[in-house]
Amino acid sequence: AHVHLCISSSCFLSGAGQDVGRSCILVSIGGKNIMLDCGMHMGFNDDRRFPDFSYITQQGRLTEFLDCVIISHFHLDHCGALPYMSEMVGYDGPIYMTHPTKAICPILLEDFRKITVDKKGETNFFTSQMIKDCMKKVVPLNLHQTVQVDDELEIKAYYAGHVLGAAMVQIKVGSESVVYTGDYNMTPDRHLGAAWIDKCRPDILISESTYATTIRDSKRCRERDFLKKVHETVERGGKVLIPVFALGRAQELCILLETFWERMNMKAPIYFSTGLTEKANHYYKLFITWTNQKIRKTFVQRNMFEFKHIKAFDRSYADNPGPMVVFATPGMLHAGQSLQIFKKWAGNEKNMIIMPGYCVQGTIGHKILNGQKKLEMENRQTISNGQSEIERCEPGCCRLSLEVKLQVEYMSFSAHADAKGIMQLIRMAEPRNMLLVHGEAKKMEFLKDKIEQEFTINCFMPANGETTTVITNPSVPVDISLNLLKREMALGGPLPDPKKPRTMHGTLIMKDNSLRLVTPEQALKELGLNEHQLRFTCRVQLQDPHSDPDTLSRIYTHLKSVLKGYTIQHLPDGTVMVESIVIKVSSSAEEPNTKVLLLSWSYQDEDLGSFLSTLLKKGLPSGLSSM
């Protein structure tokens, strides 16, 4: 028997689960409740966009219920509901995220708030102040640093490679642990590495599986397509606009274009919008602490953004004749420089806009990606005040109708693990159970079978709002009494070998939250109990043409010769005793030669008892004297 203590880790999924949208997972492990991510559904405009916290709040305040909140990365479907949860629903406990996430997350939240409240005029949304207050509750995490949330709960972040600052987290309570991957990427790219985790053997590995059933086209082909599009447009004298978020894929694409321009000896100018440089450098300094020695060294030697072909953009350049390529913020074309340039260039079919990422509903970016060819927009004036850009609607502003003639290209450079990546991660972490979130169960049966067959572990795919309970097999520490150990030593046998399990007998006392293994005698004494005797009896039939006493004598002689070193007695009451084992002989009057041997032994002599019964079943050797 092994130690089986059934302690459950349950994962309640509010948000994630099999519904692409938002991530918000509640994990209960060893009595601790942890919320993993607090994402927003980008497809909804009403309450459904936020996770349903009533599951928790009907039992009391969030702060009482949750031990901590962990955010895996800065994408809004993973952190967008954070200010809503902490400031509007109310949560004052710690929120953990990595340094880069902590820096970038509020900018994205503020951006999104502006689109929702200022542009769409929605109410019942969090305010700028709420974002600030929420961020005050954030505790930053370093990679591979074990953070003690409280006496029992500890968390540790691993590199996830999805976006800058993306992390996987290991959550540990006692001997139980859960790893949550967030979004991750197993193939390194131009500016991020591959996800990595040690063989931490968690009880549950919770992995995103949005791309679990895909086989991804290579990064190289995506880049090739990008270059091809840019090159073709520039060749025909058109202008290329690439709206980007200040950080992330923008750097990657700049690096790509720079090399291509060099290689192809291209002359058309490449610009990036003002503000991009400072922002990028700012974040890259943060990023640096996330990289190894080698990258840090190069960063000192050379500024990433001292490009030969890429220069800072001035708004007057947009009217320059001839081809050019411009990287401009923001990425979703909802305001600012990218929108301004777009308005100028949209009417010319020679031009092109390349959208390298996702766009929120209601933005110009989202509209043109849906193939809209005519846009109605307000003619706003932009006032730039350094870092952020504020848009004001001037009194008497006119509606502007814009015809989209330029080519629209959508290219996704997002880095997610595909089917192969998930298998790689499982191989790395060696979990005991696997939990896939963010996918469609019906389309993942094969993957589930594959994981279960290849790694002989259980794989779960809970639906939204479903609770999964996983039974864990934790190792339970037990104190062993010295007396028992000494007794085991006295029994001899081979010396203990750390690589081989060894059986020992004792009595386990579970009392006052402690487990102790003691000698049976001590246990009886401590608990004030009397020892009970447990005896086994068994009948063996034997053909022996002798009188009963003679047969008994023959058995005695036989055992004497076989069992050397044991106490064997022939007692006057007509029994033979070997240690505690009693043997009697009887026969019926009809068949005097068929002897029935009666064996009886105590539990302590179980081994010897079964040996004797087996031995006697074979019969007695001929030529035994009956004394």
Partner: protein, 441 residues
């Protein structure tokens, strides 16, 4: 016995296990290299992962070997020579690519151990003709998957069904699989068909029936070719001629007429309605040369000249003939190929279904070559290919690309210049080359 109520007696304590557990834990901590060593890609600001990798080896940036230059050249070149190219990496290499519908293909592993059969949905991008730019979807989707104990050397889809039939290349049994519908993504094995006269351990070639109920033509030698009804396993036709030549290719050219190519190059024409009729067209090929065949059929045409047969030899020759006279070559060519493998296992020749006179050849090295047979002549001459796909030799993984061999290729049924190809490293490429003739005007 009430003692036992509160006590668990005779406990096994696994002291050793917890000890070793600790030891392992501390070991793995030592290995905690922060980023797994890969993030350094960023620092070099260079083009490709591969170059980066070797830069690390050379120790400083800027130093690039000729291999990398070749690789870069190809990348830049690829901008010009392909309209589209998509490169995928399967977990396990495949030697079969079979269309199961207009938008789905089946691939399967061929390792000696356990294998997977996957049905993949091609990315939308490959099918949207207008507004292609707005379609970001460029990944394969695994729509159905299943497990096979044996390796899969041959896989054929039965038209009009969701069935595929496979063979492991070592015995004559056929495995029948139900690829499955929308309700479930698991491919299940539904039956086994046993060949009447199991005469060979060379594996079986399979040709799906083109008309009538679901049936398959299969055989390992010319002599044991047989047509079997899929649902009942009932043999509908067997050749019954004693010709022990090994079979290399098998294909129906009409509802009942089929072509069988023997490994020695002999071509046979059979008819499942007339068991006694078998026409032999010896190739008179050289000893020790292995042959396979590719057939272009037009099911709507009864004109025998519309059925072109290309035979490819292991000596890198292609002989083209048609049904009017299979003995006399219409034209032939010595291909411009430098063999990199001695195995004839992967040799394949196919006709382009939507491009006149073009055929694709692979299996000798890491390339797929496209030839235009229009300029070929009846006498043997060397010809240059129209297009060469070298992508499988330019893989950006650790795999030694010089030893890459293409395992199979198929044409897209309707897009004239779109080909899917796979190689021994598990790569699958979908490519659509630029026609120089139209591009220049």
């Amino acid at each position: 016995m009430d003692v036992f109520a509160s006590l668990f007696m005779f406990w096994l304590v696994n002291i050793a296990h917890s000890l070793t557990g600790c030891a392992l834990q501390s070991c793995s901590d030592l290995h905690s290299n922060p980023l797994g060593g890969n993030t350094a890609a960023y620092l070099l600001l260079i083009k490709y992962r591969r170059r980066y990798r070797s830069c690390l080896a050379v120790d400083e940036m800027g130093e690039t070997s000729s291999v990398e230059n070749e690789f870069d050249d190809w990348f830049i070149e690829s901008l010009k020579i392909y309209n589209n190219i998509h490169e995928y990496q399967l977990e396990h290499p495949t030697r079969v690519i079979e269309w199961t519908s207009e938008k789905t293909i089946c691939v399967a592993g061929y390792s000696s151990d356990k294998n997977e059969i996957l049905e993949l949905l091609l990315p939308l991008k490959l099918f949207s003709d207008d507004n292609q730019g707005l379609c970001a979807e460029r990944d394969f989707k695994v729509v159905h998957g299943g497990f096979s104990v044996g390796s899969i050397h041959c896989l054929k889809h039965i038209p009009g069904t969701r069935c595929v039939v496979t063979n492991d290349g070592f015995n004559s049994n056929l495995q029948v699989w139900d690829v499955g519908g929308d309700d479930c993504d698991v491919i299940k094995r539904t039956g086994v068909l046993q060949l009447k006269s199991a005469s060979s351990d060379k594996g079986v070639k399979i040709a799906p029936g083109l008309t009538g109920g679901p049936c398959v033509l299969h055989g390992s030698q010319i002599s044991d070719i047989q047509l079997t009804e899929l649902t009942s396993g009932k043999p509908l036709y067997s050749l019954g001629k004693d010709i022990p030549d090994l079979l290399s290719s098998l294909q129906f050219v009409s509802g009942s007429v089929f072509l069988a190519c023997a490994c020695n190059g002999d071509l046979y024409v059979g008819d499942t309605r007339k068991p006694s009729a078998l026409q032999n067209n010896p190739a008179g090929g050289r000893e020790g040369v292995h042959w396979c065949m590719g057939v272009k059929t037009d099911l709507f045409s009864s004109d025998p000249s519309s059925c072109s047969v290309a035979r490819l030899s292991s000596a890198c020759q292609v002989v083209v003939s048609d049904l009017r006279d299979l003995r006399a070559p219409l034209c032939q060519a010595q291909l411009h190929v430098q063999r990199k493998t001695t195995s004839d296992d992967f040799m394949k020749v196919t006709w382009a279904p939507a491009l006149d006179n073009c055929l694709a050849v692979s299996g000798f090295d890491g390339m797929v070559q496209i030839y235009d047979t229009a300029s070929w002549r009846p006498e043997l001459m060397e010809f240059q290919p129209l297009f060469i796909h070298q992508g499988h030799m330019m893989s950006d993984d650790q795999f030694d690309t010089s030893s890459a061999v293409v395992t199979t290729h198929v044409w897209h049924p309707s897009r004239p210049r779109t080909v899917l190809s796979a190689a021994v490293d598990g790569s699958v490429h979908v490519w659509d080359w630029v026609d120089k003739a139209t591009a220049s005007c």
